[in-house]
Amino acid sequence: MSNAIIRLGLLGIGVAAFAFSLMACSSNSGKPDTSSVKFTQYVVRGEELYQKHCSNCHQKNGSGLGQVYPPLNTSDYMNQNFEKVLCLMKYGLKEPITVNGKSYVQPMPGVVTLTDLEIAEIATYIYNSWDHAQGIVDVTEVSSAIKNCVTADQ
């Protein structure tokens, strides 16, 4: 009887260890999961929102416009300022920034009506288009970032 319990317990530990190793494996591989339905939904909705709110200036292909509107297709700023990018979609940006070594001074208006989910969708789209392949940007991640930028702004 007790043997059986021990065996079952060992089996449980084994399964857990196996599952854990798989998870560790997938997170170590560095390749984001882009096969899920949720990811596809985020990208599709994100693209729609991008075309509506962002592409006037940043262009449909993310190239930006001269040194007036910065590019998103290749952007060291986007790579280095992930949480700030989430915040500026909602709250805009007034200070000059440097993108790929060039300065941009045109203020960016925010879209305060964007929900955390919509920001997550746009972020998933722009961070998985052109030169970017970062994987899904989850709404929970956005929500915590947005809370932080509100306190930083006020």
Binding site: N56, C57, L65, G66, Q67, V68, V105, P109
Partner: protein, 211 residues
């Protein structure tokens, strides 16, 4: 026998003239017929709508008037730098026109700011520099008061430009590109936010140059 040849030949000639007429771009606006005398005989002159005299300052602080565009073809539009709705698309499209005509000394571009209080010469200079365009080719102009530019837009260019505090950016304006010929007449109106309409403009510039 001779008649049989003359009639079809006359038809062909007429067709040729019609085709030639169709190749010419329309002239916009009201026209007036003004009678006068030439060598004692009455003659009628057709007077077309032209762009009224104007004076603005461009991104280099230089004065820009009708004289600047005398004998040239130019494309005009109305915008403001802080606009986030249609202006960025218009500027993207105007940049395409610029790239097409930059080596052509016969064609110039003229972008009027409808927000002269905000769009100072310095700001327009910075904007043009950032678009990497030459100021002798593409003039970004500003001039006070704003009613002056609104009036010119509406009465001379038949383009909408006015203030409206209920709009997100505070102005209503059309995204039109106007094609002006060497005599200051409007020869085409295009939607500066639509790529295919701007393609048509670029073709019409070539047509106008051949007239």
């Amino acid at each position: 026998m001779r008649k049989k040849i003359i009639i079809p030949a006359a038809y062909l000639l007429l067709l040729g003239v019609l085709a030639c007429e169709q190749d010419r771009l329309p002239i916009f606006g009201q026209r007036q017929v003004v009678p006068r005398e030439e060598n004692g005989k009455p003659v009628n002159d057709t007077v077309y709508h032209t762009i009224a005299p104007f004076t603005f300052t461009d991104q280099d602080g230089k004065t820009v008037t009708n004289e600047t565009f005398k004998g040239k073809i130019y494309v005009a539009d109305f915008f403001f730098t802080s606009c986030r709705t249609i202006c960025p698309i218009m500027k993207t499209q105007m940049l395409r026109v610029y790239q097409e005509i930059q080596g052509d000394p016969e064609v110039l571009l003229l972008s009027h700011s409808i927000d002269p209080e905000y769009d100072t010469v310095e700001l327009l200079h910075d904007f043009a520099t950032r678009l990497e365009v030459k100021s002798d080719k593409w003039h970004f102009v500003t001039g006070q008061p704003k009613e002056y530019v609104f009036d010119l837009a509406q009465k001379s260019y038949f383009a909408t430009a006015m203030e409206d505090k209920t709009e997100p950016d505070g102005f209503i304006h059309s995204g039109a590109f106007l094609l002006i010929d060497r005599e200051g007449r409007i020869r085409g109106k295009y939607d500066g936010t639509k790529e295919d309409d701007v393609d048509r403009l670029m073709k019409d510039i070539k047509r106008l140059e051949r007239e």
